[in-house]
């Protein structure tokens, strides 16, 4: 019963990512979109937290939202996977349920 968790708020502004990571279970997927993508940049204050989560969960970030904020894919911290909109659809289809952390 894996779940896709979607976070769209910057972790610097809201605690949505922290709360999401605290509630996501082993084998779940976490996708960062919109302003949440800033947390995925290598060297950001939230990389440690994300790395801990990646021990038993997968973390993804939407490439189009990175590009809009001037960030190339090579700026994303190791282990976080960049996906496009088709990848977003695949994640939604491959998990039994989705939950948005607004």
């Amino acid at each position: 019963m894996s779940m896709l968790h979607i976070v769209n708020k910057s972790p610097f502004e809201r605690n949505a990512l922290a709360s999401c990571l605290g509630h996501a279970l082993e084998g779940d997927s976490v996708l960062l979109i919109e302003d949440a993508v800033v947390g995925a940049i290598d060297g950001s204050n939230f990389i440690e937290q994300i790395k801990v989560a990646m021990a038993d969960k997968s973390v993804y970030v939407l490439g189009a939202d990175l590009a809009a904020r001037g960030m190339q894919e090579n700026r994303v911290a190791e282990g976080i996977q960049v996906v496009d909109y088709a990848g977003f659809v695949d994640l939604a289809a491959n998990n039994e349920k989705t939950q948005s952390w607004l």
């Binding site: 769209n8 204050n45 809009a68 001037g70 496009d84």
Partner: protein, 133 residues
């Protein structure tokens, strides 16, 4: 008499409308020939990140407009160093925004000033009017 206007920008662009709204109001104030400064703090530093490409999200990009502000005598862009560092960014990630100094034979000069949090606090305290976005 002109007043010192400070626009405080604390949000990343495109996820919310704050960045664009701030830019619109800055252009209005500039038309009234006020002394305008912009502060980029927290996620606001992403507003002037270089290479913004919004094709993928289907939204109109507005980052090029910051480059035009120099023509309206808006050339004080204060960017907080700690905000960049917390996000894994450096000054090299910012657009090279410049203006032409009419008091110095129209020499091209950088508009962006990287300041520490303490310096930013000082700049903020020196304003007559502060508008927050």
């Amino acid at each position: 008499m002109s007043k010192k206007f400070m626009y405080v920008n604390r949000k990343a662009p495109y996820g919310t409308v704050y960045a664009l709204e701030s830019l619109e109001v800055v252009l209005i104030a500039a038309a009234f020939e006020q002394d305008v400064s912009l502060a980029f703090i927290d996620d606001g530093v992403y507003q002037i990140a270089k290479g913004q490409d919004t094709k993928g999200i289907g939204m109109k990009g507005f980052s090029a407009t910051y480059n035009a502000l120099g023509d309206y005598d808006v050339n004080k862009f204060y960017v907080e160093r700690e905000s960049l560092e917390e996000r894994g960014l450096t000054e090299d990630d910012l657009m090279p925004i410049v203006y032409e100094d009419e008091d110095d034979d129209w020499a091209e000069k950088p508009s962006v000033k990287i300041v520490s949090r303490a310096e930013m606090a000082q700049v903020l305290s020196e304003q007559d009017v502060t508008l927050s976005f």
